[in-house]
Amino acid sequence: MISFWDFFTDPVLRAPTWGCILMCFASSLMGVLIFLRKRSLLAETLSHATYPGAVIGVFLFAFLFPAHEEWTFLAVLGGAFISSLLGLKAIEWMEEKGKARSDAALCFVLAVFFGIGIVAASAMQASFPVWQKQVQMLLFGQAATMTDIHILIYGCLAFAAAFFLFLTFRPLQSTLFDRDFALSAGIPVSILDRIVFWLLLISLIVGIRSVGVVLMSGMVIAPAVAARQFSNRLQTIFGLSALFGVLSGFLGNYLSVMGSLALSQSGEKISLSLPTGPMIVLVGTSFAILSLLFAPKRGLAFRIGRILAFRFRCLQENLLKGIWKKGALSFPQIKESYPVFLPVLSWILFRMRQEGWMQKKKGLYELTRDGKQKAASIIRLHRLWELYLTESLGFQVEKVHRTAEEMEHILTPEIEERLTRLLSNPKQDPHQQPIPERYESLLGN
């Protein structure tokens, strides 16, 4: 049985574990930069553009040094580096000289380079069938065969990325936020660009080994997307992104090993295994999806919650207004004028009694003194807004009611103050209805 700690210490298991963790750490840091520059597709294109170079690298290596298969990874790294560099030059050339749109150039380079890679790989199948496995592996990665030397390489890369970010954090932040200003102020933007790009390229290339060409960009972007949901501080975003990256790297590898083990013991005839690279990316994207849904403030669930709370408040305020105008309403009357799902309506009425806005006497809902005050202040906003639209913006009187219906729930006391001053504390709305004063009931009118 494999214990948890074996993943970090066992001579066979530790290399994939540490390798994946360090690789994900570096790529998730670089991902924040790419994501905030809104160039996420660049990572996708460049990782695909590594493939033809890697294939041709293996091809040449097999041709020149057929006896040293264990050193193939050097050929992979070198080839991948050259071809993704060519890919980048092609993109820049198309954007500048060809005036191609950025997304078109990115997609074009992605498709062409990846296509060449696939063709080269199948050509290889014919001439060097034994080596083809090496090339096939690059598509979706193969973490299990990593060795301690990989830990060393990935460790150096992760350290370099983190150290670079630490040193140049401020100028980098400025450049990402306001590029023209940074250039005008003499911040060395082009040097920063170049370093960021080289680090991104290196992290993509080493990532190919564990996650693969096809899925690598997911590992760059997903942790950054997740982290952005939780914070408005760039430092925190970097930290969280690194954390999500490390967790994905570890959990992906862990689940792959344990899952494959469980599947092989289940006694099925066809032995299934969970590949590491896709597992890492799945964990990473799960973090991203969960964050998009449930992160406080920015998450979808919270936004829906806030929308519901706002609707609830609107209905409550409309009820107050309705009862204020009529003096008192019975439940059937309310039901008729406010076609809302019945339990919701009953709940709102119950809440409003609880909160002290209204009371029920002989089956009729009436406003308390506080309720009347609140209703009057809503009516005031409504009529102020109508007056503002007709007086200051020249709207026709018949057309102002509908937007005022909406704005009465929106206007803040500060805007009310400014409206009052602008219209010099008016007493009548455009329909010749009185505008209630502020704090009318407290003032004793």
Binding site: D180, A182, L183, S184, L234
Partner: protein, 255 residues
Amino acid sequence: MNFSFEADALNVNYGKIPILWDITFQIPQGQMVGILGPNGAGKSTLLKAALGLVKPLSGNIALLGQAASRARKKIAYVPQRESVDWDFPITALEVVLMGRYGRLGLFGRPRKADKEAAGSALELVGMSAYADRQISQLSGGQQQRLFIARALVQEADLFLLDEPFAGVDLATEKAIIELLRRQKQQGKTVFIIHHDLPTVEEYFDWAVLLNTRLVACGPVKEVFHRDNLMRAFGKGQLLFDEAAALSAKSLSGIL
């Protein structure tokens, strides 16, 4: 004394379409200068060319008697407010601090003095209460004040502002113009791309009227009159634009 802004036979193209065409003018230091012209007249491009952000096709442009790349530490540039992503994770104080990174270099960390300067600049534009706010929580006027504060901490001799009053409330506009006047009183030069013609005579000493070509450049009293405005904002330009577009198409083989 050097001129604050010199352009000599300046041509700037976007692709084959001319944005600025044979511009030559000189403006002395210590002035408030309004750059005026209709949309698409090349006003922003003129500033960007001066800063070296846009490469001219031909001609020369100099700030304070030097190429912009040599004068960077003496120039404060305020880009259009819409040109940046206001959802970016950065606080108000950090934006103002950016004004100091140009001189701190690649590995520079802001020193205590830089932070205090940024704090004072925020106070000067009436924003100290918002120092730690994320910038998306600020109103349009507050965002513009932030940019002005950033320009102030640069301690520049020349200010180049691209539409600082676009989408800004009147109180902010007055506050900004007051701060810039104070800079002028210390002998600094201020260039403002401006849209609101009625305030031109109140705000500026000099005016540059631009519509792809230079219409006029000189003290406001001399150049800001009906004839020049008609030439800058009138429809006479249309024919030129059409011919230029036609020529661009012919040259690139579309026609």
